[in-house]
C-alpha cells in the first residue's frame, strides 16, 4: 500500500526524446536503438505509445506509485482520445521499477498482468544485473498484451505532426541548400574554405541540476512525442 512519506521537493523529469531512454547508462547503445525502433514501430501499428525510461534514482520522497503516476501523466504518453499509453520506469540504484498503464489500456493490461510481467519476467533478470534481457522480455510482453486493443495509423504521433509542417520544412531545406551552395562557391573562390560536414541529427537528451544526463542518441532515431494520454494509477510497482 502507499508508504508514509513527507511531502518534499521532487523532480518530474521532462518528456523524453525517445521511446526508450537510458539515463542510467546500463543498456548497450545498440540495444537501446533497437528497443526504441521496436516501440516506434509499435505505435505506427497500434497507436499505443509505450515509453521506457531508466533513471539512476528516484528524485522524490513520495511513494514509488505516486511518483511514477505523476511522471506518466506529465509525459502524456498515449493518444488523447484513446488514453493508450504505458510507461515503464526503472530506478536502477534504488532497485525499484514501475509499470504505469493508461486508462484506455487497463482492460488489456490489468494490474495482475502488469504485476506478473514485472515480478516474473523483468525483475528476475534485473536481480542478475541483466537489464537488457529483462527489458527485452518486458517490452515484448507489454506489447503482446496490448496489441489488438487499438489499430494504428501507420505513423507515430510525431510523424503525424511532422507532416503538417512538411511544406514549411521542405522550403526551409531548399533555402538551406541554396545558402550552403553559395557558401561553398564563395569558399572555392577564396580557395581556403573547407566544408567540414555536420553531425547526425541531434537527439536531445537533457541534463538538469540533478545530474541526469542524456542516454540514447543515434542515427535514424525515431523521436517520441506524447499524444495527450492520461493515467489513473493502474499498473504495478515494486522493488527487486
Amino acid at each position: 500500500m502507499s508508504a508514509v512519506c513527507a511531502h518534499a521537493a521532487e523532480i518530474i523529469p521532462p518528456k523524453p526524446a525517445g521511446y526508450f531512454n537510458d539515463y542510467a547508462g546500463v543498456v548497450s547503445k545498440s540495444a537501446a536503438v533497437r528497443f526504441n525502433e521496436q516501440l516506434a514501430q509499435f505505435e505506427r501499428e497500434t497507436s499505443d505509445q509505450v515509453v521506457v525510461a531508466l533513471f539512476p534514482k528516484m528524485e522524490s520522497e513520495s511513494s514509488l506509485d505516486d511518483y511514477a503516476q505523476r511522471i506518466a501523466q506529465a509525459w502524456q504518453v498515449g493518444q488523447k482520445d484513446r488514453r493508450n499509453g504505458v510507461v515503464v520506469l526503472v530506478f536502477v540504484q534504488d532497485h525499484k521499477m514501475s509499470i504505469q498503464v493508461g486508462y484506455g489500456l487497463e482492460g488489456a493490461l490489468p494490474d495482475v498482468t502488469a504485476f506478473d510481467i514485472r515480478t516474473r519476467h523483468i525483475q528476475p533478470h534485473f536481480r542478475n544485473g541483466d537489464y537488457e534481457g529483462g527489458l527485452a522480455e518486458g517490452i515484448d510482453l507489454v506489447c503482446k498484451a496490448i496489441r489488438g486493443e487499438y489499430t494504428g495509423l501507420g505513423k507515430t504521433d510525431r510523424e503525424k505532426r511532422g507532416n503538417a509542417a512538411g511544406g514549411a520544412g521542405l522550403l526551409g531545406f531548399l533555402i538551406f541548400m541554396i545558402v550552403l551552395l553559395m557558401f561553398i562557391r564563395i569558399g572555392r573562390r577564396r580557395g581556403g574554405f573547407a566544408y567540414s560536414g555536420f553531425g547526425g541529427p541531434y537527439v536531445g537528451g537533457w541534463s538538469s541540476g540533478s545530474g541526469w544526463s542524456s542516454g540514447t542518441s543515434g542515427g535514424g532515431f525515431s523521436g517520441f512525442s506524447g499524444g495527450g494520454g492520461s493515467f489513473g494509477g493502474g499498473g504495478s510497482s515494486g522493488s527487486w
Binding site: I12, D66, V112, F115, G233, G234
Partner: protein, 211 residues
Amino acid sequence: MNRFSLGSVVAGLAIIFGFTGCGSYNRLVTLEQNANKKWADVQSVYQRRADLIPNLVNTVSGAANFEKSTLTEVTNARASVGRVQLDPNKAPTDAAQLQQFQAAQGQLSSALSRLLVVSENYPQLRATEAFQNLQAQLEGTENRISVERNNYNTAVQDLNTALETFPTNMLNKMFGFKPRAFFQSQSGAEKAPSVNFNFGNSPAPSPAASP
C-alpha cells in the same frame, strides 16, 4: 436614424452583457459537471475496492489458522463504508458529510493494510497465485483511489475559485451554485508534494488542504 442608432447601441450592450453572462454561466456549469464527473470517478474506484473484499476474505480465510481478528476488522470496515453513502452523481457540498465518508473509507484502508501485513506471517498463503493476484489488484486500487481523489480535489478547486471570483461570482447567488467539499489529506502519502519542479508540464497540482 438617430433613434435607430440609440436603439441598436442599447441592444448591442444588452447582447454583449447577455453573452458574457451566458459564457460565465456555461463555464460554471462546465466546472460543476467536471467536479461531478470526478466525484463519480472517486466513487467508482472506492466501489472497485469494496468489490474486491469478499474475494480477498474468501482467499485468506481458506489459509490454515489465519488470524481471524484482522479478517473481522476488514469485514466490519467494509460494512461501515456501506452505511456512509453519498450521492454518486453529485459532488458533495457538505464538508462534514464528506469527512464522515472519508473516515469510513480510511478505516477500511487501514484494516486492509493490516491484513496485508499480517499475511507476511503466512508464507504459504502469500505463495498462492490467488493471493498474489488479489494483492496486485488491491495495490492498484489504492493507487487509483489516490489519483482520483487528487483529480477530484483539483476539479473542486477550479469550481470553488470560479465561484469566488468576478464575474462568475455574480451568477453564484442568482442561480444557486454551491462550492464543493475537498478531501482532506490524512497521511502525507495521499497528496502531491508541495514543491513541483517540473519543466513546464504540469502534473496533478497539489490542491489546498482546506477550502
